[in-house]
C-alpha cells in the first residue's frame, strides 16, 4: 500500500472505532427507553405513532408474540411490494414508463428487499420507476434493517433478563430503531452525499450527444433478455456505433444513505456504488464504507453495555475486526500482484479490471470486504473481475454466515449463535456444563444456535448442487468452467445469507434463479430470526448463574481466538470441497499457466 492508502485506511478504522462507544451507548439508551439527545424532537412523533397504530408501549411480549408480530409485519410489507412491482406500469412517478415486473421477478425482488438481501435480478435504471424505488425499495431498506436490529436486541434481552418470558415490545423496538437510529442518520448522510455530487431529482432521463462516437460489440439478446449463445456457448455479439448517451436520473441520495446504513445494498443503478451518481468521490466512498460498518460495529458495544460487560462487546468486535482486516489484506495482496495472464500481454501491475480508479485499490478492497462481511451487498468493484484468490475473500466472508460485522442486527445475533456453540465446546473442555453471561447453554439453545448458524450453509449446499445439474441454470453462466461454478456458488451464498451482491456474469433473471433465490432468501432470513427469538425466549426464562473462578471468561483473548477458530472451521469444513472446485482451482490454473 502506498502512503495515501495507508493513511486512508488508518484514519478510516480510527474514526470507526472511535465512534463505536458513543454510538453504541446511544443505541443502548434508545432500546432501553432512556432519554437521548433526540428525545425532545422525537418523543412526540413516537407517541403519535403509537396512538395512531394503537400500540401500548408498556406491553411486554413473549418470544412467540414477538415473532408473530415480526413475521406478519414483514409478510405484509413484502406483499405490498410484490403488488407494487406487478402494478408498476399503472403507478405514478414513472417518467420512463417502466413496465411491470414479471411475477417471478416480482417475487424474487419483493422477498429480496423484505429480507434485507437486495439481490437484484433487474437493473435499477432500466426496470424500476421512481415510485418503486422510493415507496417500495427505500421503505424496505428501513423496515428490513430495523427488523434485523430488533431481533438482536430481543436476543440481548434474553441473555440479560432473568426468570421472565418478556423480551420487549416488537412494535416499540421497530419504531425506535427507525425513528431514533435509521432516519436521522440517513437524513444527515443523504445531505452529505448530495454535497459530494450524488443526484436527487425526479427528472426524466437525459439524452446527451457524445463528444466522440463509440463503436462496440454488443451481446445479442433474445426476447426474454437473455444472451444468445453460439454453438460453442460463447455469446453472440453485434457491432454497434453510439452517438448519444442516455443518463438515468432519480432520487438517488435519499436511497443511497440508507442502502449502506441498513446494510441493504440494493443499488439505485445497476452499477451500484461504482456509479458516479451513487458514489462520486473518494470521500463519499469512505463515508459509504463507514455507514456500512457503523451500526453493526456499534451494536457490539450496545450488547456489551446492556449485558453489563462492555469488554464482552469489545471481544466480539475484535473477532470481527480481525477477520475483516485479514481478508482485506489477502484481497489487497492478490489484486496488487495482478493477473499473470494479463501480464503476459504486457500489462503489468495491479489488477484494475472492474475497479474504479477514483477509489484506488485500498478503497475498492475495503469496500469489497466491508460489503460482504456485513450483509450489505452494495459494490463499488465488480467482484467477478477480482483475481480468483481475491474473489475468494468476499465469497468466504459471505460463506462465514455474515458475522464479520454482519448485517445490522443479523451480524450480532448470528455471532451470538456462534458464541453459544463455541462456549458449549469450550465449557465442556474445562469441565463445566457450559454457560454464557450467566445463562446455562442447554439442548434448546444448542438447536437454535445451530439453526441460526447452519441454515444458510445448508441452503447453499442444496441449491448450488441442484443448479449444477439443471441445464437452464448451467446455461445462465457467462463464464463456464471453475469460474462459472464460483459464480453460482456466490449467487446462492449471497442470497442465502441475505447479502445481495453478485459475481456478475450470471444471468439471474430466469425462472430457476428467481424462484430458488426467493426460497433461499426467505429461509435464510427467517429461519435464523425465529431460532434467535426462540433462543432469546428460552434464555430469558433461565436463572442467572454468577461467575466463579471455574467460569470460563468469555471476554478475554483465549476465548476470542477460540471463537474465531470455530467460525473459520465451521465455514471451511462446510465449503472447502466446493471452493476447491471453484476459486481455489481457478487460482491454481491461473498461476500454473
Amino acid at each position: 500500500m502506498n502512503a495515501y492508502e495507508w493513511a486512508e485506511t488508518i484514519v478510516f478504522f480510527t474514526v470507526l472505532l472511535a465512534l463505536v462507544k458513543p454510538f453504541g451507548s446511544y443505541m443502548a439508551r434508545v432500546y432501553q427507553g432512556e432519554r437521548t439527545v433526540l428525545s425532545p424532537l422525537l418523543v412526540p412523533c413516537e407517541s403519535l405513532l403509537y396512538r395512531l397504530c394503537g400500540v401500548n408501549r408498556d406491553e411486554e411480549m413473549g418470544w412467540k408474540r414477538y415473532a408473530v408480530g415480526l413475521i406478519l409485519f414483514n409478510l405484509l410489507t413484502g406483499v405490498v411490494l410484490f403488488a407494487m412491482l406487478l402494478l408498476q406500469g399503472v403507478l405514478p412517478l414513472n417518467p420512463q414508463k417502466m413496465p411491470a415486473f414479471s411475477w417471478s421477478l416480482s417475487l424474487n425482488t419483493a422477498i429480496s428487499f423484505m429480507t434485507n438481501t437486495n439481490w437484484q435480478n433487474y437493473a435499477g435504471e432500466s426496470a424500476a420507476s421512481y415510485f418503486t424505488q422510493m415507496c417500495g425499495f427505500a421503505v424496505h431498506n428501513f423496515t428490513s434493517a430495523a427488523t434485523g436490529m430488533v431481533v438482536a436486541i430481543a436476543l440481548i434481552r434474553g441473555f440479560v433478563r432473568r426468570r421472565t418470558s418478556h423480551l420487549g415490545n416488537f412494535w416499540v423496538d421497530l419504531t425506535r430503531s427507525t425513528l431514533y437510529i435509521l432516519l436521522p442518520l440517513s437524513l444527515v448522510f443523504a445531505v452529505f452525499l448530495v454535497s459530494q455530487g450524488v443526484i436527487q431529482n425526479f427528472s426524466a432521463y437525459k439524452t446527451v450527444p457524445l463528444v466522440q462516437s463509440v463503436t462496440y460489440d454488443k451481446p445479442k439478446l433474445d426476447d426474454s433478455g437473455n444472451a444468445i449463445k453460439d454453438a460453442k456457448g460463447n455469446p453472440v455479439t453485434e457491432s454497434v456505433t453510439a452517438n448519444e448517451v442516455t443518463i438515468p436520473m432519480g432520487p438517488v441520495a435519499s436511497q443511497e444513505a440508507i442502502k449502506e446504513l441498513g446494510t441493504n445494498g440494493g443499488g439505485f443503478f445497476n452499477a451500484n456504488s461504482s456509479h458516479p451518481y451513487e458514489n462520486p468521490t473518494p470521500l463519499s466512498n469512505m463515508v459509504e464504507i463507514f455507514l456500512i460498518l457503523l451500526i453493526s460495529g456499534s451494536l457490539t458495544y450496545t450488547f456489551g453495555l446492556m449485558a453489563g460487560n462492555p469488554r464482552q462487546g469489545w471481544a466480539l468486535l475484535a473477532v470481527m475486526l480481525a477477520i475483516l482486516v485479514f481478508t482485506m489484506a489477502v484481497l489487497y495482496r492478490a489484486e496488487a500482484t495482478g493477473n499473470p495472464l494479463v501480464a503476459k500481454l504486457g500489462v503489468h501491475g495491479i489488477n484494475m479490471e472492474g475497479k474504479e480508479t477514483r477509489f484506488g485499490l485500498a478503497g475498492s478492497a475495503l469496500f469489497a470486504v466491508a460489503t460482504t462481511g456485513t450483509s450489505c451487498g452494495a459494490v463499488n468493484t465488480m467482484h467477478d473481475s477480482l483475481t480468483p484468490l481475491g474473489g475468494l475473500m468476499p465469497l468466504s466472508l459471505i460463506l462465514l454466515s455474515e458475522v464479520v460485522f454482519g448485517g445490522v442486527g443479523t451480524g450480532l445475533y448470528t455471532m451470538l449463535a456462534f458464541v453459544v456453540i463455541a462456549v458449549f465446546i469450550a465449557g465442556l473442555m474445562i469441565g463445566r456444563t457450559p454457560e454464557f453471561l450467566g445463562k446455562k447453554i442447554e439442548v434448546r439453545e444448542m438447536w437454535m444456535s445451530i439453526l441460526a448458524v447452519l441454515t444458510a450453509g445448508i441452503l447453499i449446499l442444496v441449491f448450488s448442487g441442484i443448479a449444477m445439474v439443471v441445464p437452464s441454470a448451467v446455461s445462465s453462466m457467462a463464464n463456464p468452467g471453475a469460474h462459472g461454478l464460483s459464480e453460482v456458488l456466490y449467487a446462492f451464498a449471497s442470497m442465502s445469507n441475505n447479502n445481495g451482491s453478485a459475481f456478475a456474469g450470471l444471468s439471474g433473471n430466469t425462472l430457476f434463479y428467481n424462484v430458488t433465490g426467493a426460497i433461499c432468501m426467505f429461509l435464510g432470513r427467517f429461519a435464523p430470526i425465529l431460532a434467535s427469538l426462540a433462543m432469546a425466549g428460552s434464555l430469558a426464562e433461565k436463572k442467572y448463574v454468577p461467575p466463579s473462578l471455574g467460569t470460563l471468561p468469555t471476554d478475554k483473548v483465549p476465548f476470542a481466538l477460540w471463537l474465531t477458530l470455530v467460525i473459520l472451521i465451521v465455514g471451511a469444513l462446510t465449503f472447502f470441497p466446493a471452493l476447491s472446485m471453484g476459486p481455489i482451482v481457478e487460482q491454481l490454473q491461473m498461476v500454473g499457466q
Partner: protein
C-alpha cells in the same frame, strides 16, 4: 478396619473382552444402533459400500473391486469399534453386577404376624414381601429386603453392598435404623419393616445402574449429540453437494470422471464426528464406573455432571473437616493448683471413661506428664448422666469429676465450696474462643483446672479446600457448635464460610438462598434431619450409614460414608465433561487433515492442479482415501483408554485449562491425523 473397594477389573480381562466382542456385533442391530444417530449413519454408509462392492464384482463399477471392498470393511470396522468401546465400558459394570446378583439368591424371610418379638411368623420367599410387612431377622439370617429397624439392635455385615468387612450397628430409632436387603445379621435379632417392594430395592437399583440398563442420556449429553447430529447432516450435504459439482467440473474441464459414490461415502464417514460419537456412550458409563471404584454409587448421570458445576459445597464439620473425636491437648490449672496436680486429677477422673475424649485425657496425662496410675480396687465409676452432666471416679473417699464448666461449678458448690477460682472463667473463655471445648476438672469441692479438648482438623484438609477454591467452589462448614467455636475451626480449616448452631431448617434455608443466587449446591448428609436439605441440594451425597430417608433424598450414595468423597465426585463430573469436550474438539480438528488427504485425491482426474493440496504426498488417490478411512476407524480403539479413564484433571483456572486443552486436543487434533494418515498410506502403499 479393612476396606476393599470393588476390585478394579482390567478391561483386558477375558471376562470383559469376550462378551464385549460379542456385544459389538450384537449392537449392529439397527434397532439398537439408531440411538446413536451418527454411528447409525455410518452403518447405513457401510451398507451402501457393501452393495457397491457387490455391484463392482459384477463389473458395474469403475473403481477396482478391492478398493470398494476394503473401504466397506473399514467402514464396518468403524461401527464395530464404536460398539466395542461402549460394550467394553458396560462390561466392567456387568461383571460387577453379576457378582452383586449372587448375593440375591433365594432368600427367605420370617414374616411376622405382629411387629413384636415373640410373635408368630411364617417363612416366605423374599419375593413375596411387600412394603410395610414386618419381618424377624435373627443371627445368621440374610435381611430379605430394604427396611427400617423398628425393634431391637443388631450387628450387621454389609460387605455385600459396601465391600466393608467390619460389621455396623443397626438399631431402631435414630439415624442408624436403615438396613439394606442382601446384608447379614451377625449378632442379636431385629424386627424390620420392609420399605421397598421386590425389584425396587437398593440392591436392584444398584445392579440396574451398574449394568447401565437404566442409564439415561444426560441433558448435556443430548445437547452435545444435537451438535454432532447437525455436523453429520452438514457433512452429508457437503458430500451430496460434491457430486453435482464434480459432474459439472468434468464437463467444464473436459477431463476426468465425477466423484464416485464409494469415495463420497468414505469422505462422509471421515468427516462425520465419528470419533466422539463412537466414544460418547463409553465416556458416561466409564465415569459412573470410576465412581463405583471409589465406592460411590451415582443414582443418575445428571448428578455427577452437576457435581462438576458445583459452586457451593456444604460440609458437615464432624467427620469431614475434623476427626469425629476431640482430643485433650493441654491441662490448664486454675486457683493456684500445679499443672502436675491437675493432670493427676484429670487422669483419675478419666480412668474408667471409655469415650474417645476420655481416653485422650489418659493418653495426654501419661505421655506428657509421665503419670502411671492403675485404677484402685475400691474405685467406683460415676458414669455420665443427663442430670449431672458430669462423669468421674470416686476413689478413697475423694470424688474426681470432669464436665462442662457450669455443671462442675454447680457440683463443687453442692459439696460446699465457698469460692470458685477467679481465673476459671477467663481460662474457659479463652479455650472456647479458640474453637476448643473446655472441660473443668474437680476433686471434691476444689476446682483443679481445665482440660483443653480440641477438635483435630484432618491433616491435609486445607489443601483440599485450596483445590476446591481453585476450581471456584466455595466451602461452607455446617456445625451444631456455637458460633465462637465454629469460627475458630473454620479459620483453622480454611473453609470459606460456616453455619453454626445449624438446625435442619437452617440448612434448607441456606441451600435455597444459594440456589436463588444461581449457585449449584452440593451437600453431604446422613441423618433423617438432613433429608429435606439433601432433597433440595443439586448434588446430594448420602452416607451409606445414613438413614433410609437420607438415602432416598440423595442422588449419590457413598458406600464408604466418607464425606470428603465429594471432591472425588466433583473431579469425575468434570472429567466426564472434559473428556467429551476434548474428544469433540479432537474429532472436528481431524477433519482438516482428512480434507487434505481426500479432496485432492478425489478431484485429481478433473483438476490435476489440485495436487498441490496433497501436502502429505500420499502415494495414489485410492491409497489416500483408504488411509483416511483407516485412520478414522483405528483412532476409535486407540482413544478407548482415554475415554474410559477420562482426561486428566488438574485444578487450575478456567482460562489456563482451556488453553491447555485447546493446544493438546485442538492443535494436536489437527496435526495427529497428518502424521497418522501419512504412516498408514506408507503401509497401504507397501501392499499395493
Amino acid at each position: 478396619m479393612s476396606k476393599h473397594a470393588p476390585e478394579p477389573i482390567s478391561i483386558f480381562d477375558a471376562r470383559i473382552m469376550r462378551p464385549a466382542l460379542l456385544d459389538s456385533f450384537r449392537k449392529l442391530d439397527p434397532r439398537v444402533l439408531w440411538k446413536n444417530p451418527v454411528m447409525f449413519a455410518v452403518e447405513i454408509a457401510s451398507v451402501i459400500t457393501l452393495v457397491t462392492f457387490a455391484l463392482s464384482l459384477s463389473g458395474a463399477n469403475k473403481e477396482p473391486a478391492w478398493f470398494t471392498g476394503t473401504v466397506s470393511v473399514w467402514l464396518w470396522l468403524t461401527v464395530i469399534f464404536a460398539n466395542f468401546s461402549e460394550a467394553l465400558a458396560e462390561g466392567r459394570g456387568k461383571a460387577r453386577a453379576a457378582s452383586l446378583r449372587k448375593t440375591r439368591t433365594d432368600v427367605t424371610a420370617k414374616l411376622l404376624s405382629k411387629p413384636e418379638f415373640g410373635a408368630s411368623f411364617e417363612t416366605v420367599p423374599a419375593t413375596e414381601l411387600r412394603k410395610d410387612d414386618c419381618i424377624l431377622v435373627e443371627v445368621g439370617d440374610l435381611i430379605a429386603g430394604d427396611g427400617d429397624v423398628i425393634a431391637g439392635a443388631a450387628l450387621v455385615n454389609e460387605s455385600a453392598i459396601t465391600g466393608e468387612s467390619a460389621p455396623v450397628v443397626r438399631e431402631s430409632g435414630g439415624d442408624r435404623s436403615a438396613v439394606t436387603g442382601g446384608t447379614t445379621v451377625i449378632a442379636n435379632a431385629i424386627i424390620v419393616r420392609i420399605t421397598a417392594n421386590p425389584g425396587e430395592t437398593f440392591l436392584d437399583r444398584m445392579i440396574g445402574l451398574i449394568e447401565g440398563a437404566k442409564r439415561r442420556k444426560t441433558p448435556n449429553e443430548i445437547a452435545l449429540e444435537v451438535l454432532l447430529i447437525a455436523l453429520t447432516l452438514v457433512f452429508l450435504l457437503v458430500c451430496a453437494n460434491i457430486s453435482p459439482l464434480s459432474v459439472y467440473s468434468v464437463k467444464a474441464a473436459g477431463q476426468g470422471s465425477p466423484v464416485s459414490l464409494t469415495v463420497l461415502v468414505a469422505l462422509f464417514v471421515c468427516l462425520a464426528p465419528t470419533t466422539i460419537a463412537a466414544l460418547l456412550p463409553a465416556i458416561g458409563i466409564a465415569g459412573m464406573d470410576r465412581l463405583f471404584q471409589k465406592n460411590v454409587i451415582a443414582l443418575s448421570g445428571r448428578a455427577i455432571e452437576a457435581a462438576g458445576d458445583v459452586n457451593v459445597l456444604l460440609l458437615d464439620k464432624t467427620g469431614t473437616i475434623t476427626h469425629g473425636n476431640r482430643e485433650a491437648v493441654e491441662f490448664v490449672p486454675v486457683g493456684g493448683h500445679a499443672e502436675q496436680e491437675l493432670a493427676e486429677a484429670a487422669l483419675v477422673a478419666s480412668l474408667t471413661d471409655e469415650t474417645p475424649e476420655g481416653r485422650s485425657v489418659v493418653v495426654l496425662a501419661r505421655q506428657k506428664y509421665g503419670l502411671e496410675r492403675e485404677l484402685p480396687r475400691d474405685a467406683e465409676t460415676i458414669a455420665f448422666s443427663a442430670e449431672t452432666r458430669l462423669s468421674g471416679v470416686d476413689v478413697g473417699g475423694s470424688r474426681y469429676r470432669k464436665g462442662a464448666a457450669d455443671s462442675t461449678v454447680a457440683f463443687v458448690k453442692s459439696l460446699g465450696a465457698k469460692t470458685i477460682p477467679a481465673n476459671l472463667d477467663e481460662v474457659v473463655d479463652r479455650i472456647a474462643r479458640a474453637g476448643a471445648t473446655p472441660l473443668v476438672v474437680s476433686c471434691d469441692s476444689e476446682i483443679m483446672g481445665v482440660i483443653n479438648l480440641k477438635d483435630i482438623i484432618k491433616s491435609g484438609i486445607q489443601e483440599r479446600f485450596q483445590q476446591l477454591r481453585q476450581m471456584g467452589i466455595k466451602t461452607v462448614m455446617i456445625t451444631g457448635d456455637n458460633p465462637l467455636t465454629a469460627a475458630a475451626i473454620a479459620a483453622e480449616a480454611q473453609v470459606d464460610d460456616f453455619l453454626a448452631q445449624a438446625k435442619p431448617e437452617d440448612k434448607l434455608k441456606l441451600i435455597k438462598e444459594n440456589q436463588e443466587a444461581g449457585f449449584m449446591v452440593a451437600m453431604t448428609g446422613d441423618g433423617t434431619n438432613d433429608a429435606p436439605a439433601l432433597a433440595q441440594a443439586d448434588v446430594a451425597v448420602a452416607m451409606n450409614t445414613g438413614t433410609q430417608p437420607a438415602r432416598e433424598a440423595a442422588n449419590i450414595i457413598d458406600l464408604d460414608s466418607n464425606p470428603t468423597k465429594l471432591l472425588d465426585i466433583v473431579e469425575v463430573g468434570k472429567q466426564i465433561l472434559m473428556t467429551r469436550g476434548n474428544l469433540t474438539t479432537f474429532s472436528i480438528s481431524n477433519d482438516v487433515a482428512k480434507y487434505f488427504a481426500i479432496i485432492p485425491a478425489m478431484l485429481l482426474s478433473i483438476y490435476p492442479q489440485l495436487n498441490v493440496l496433497n501436502v502429505m504426498h500420499l502415494a495414489t488417490p485410492l491409497s489416500a482415501i483408504l488411509s483416511a478411512v483407516i485412520f478414522n476407524a483405528v483412532i476409535i480403539p486407540l482413544l478407548v483408554p482415554l475415554a474410559l479413564k477420562g482426561t486428566r484433571f488438574k485444578p487450575m483456572p478456567a482460562e489456563k485449562l482451556l488453553i491447555h486443552n485447546l493446544l493438546l486436543y485442538g492443535v494436536g487434533g489437527m496435526i495427529a491425523p497428518f502424521i497418522g494418515i501419512k504412516l498408514i498410506d506408507m503401509m497401504v502403499g507397501s501392499f499395493l
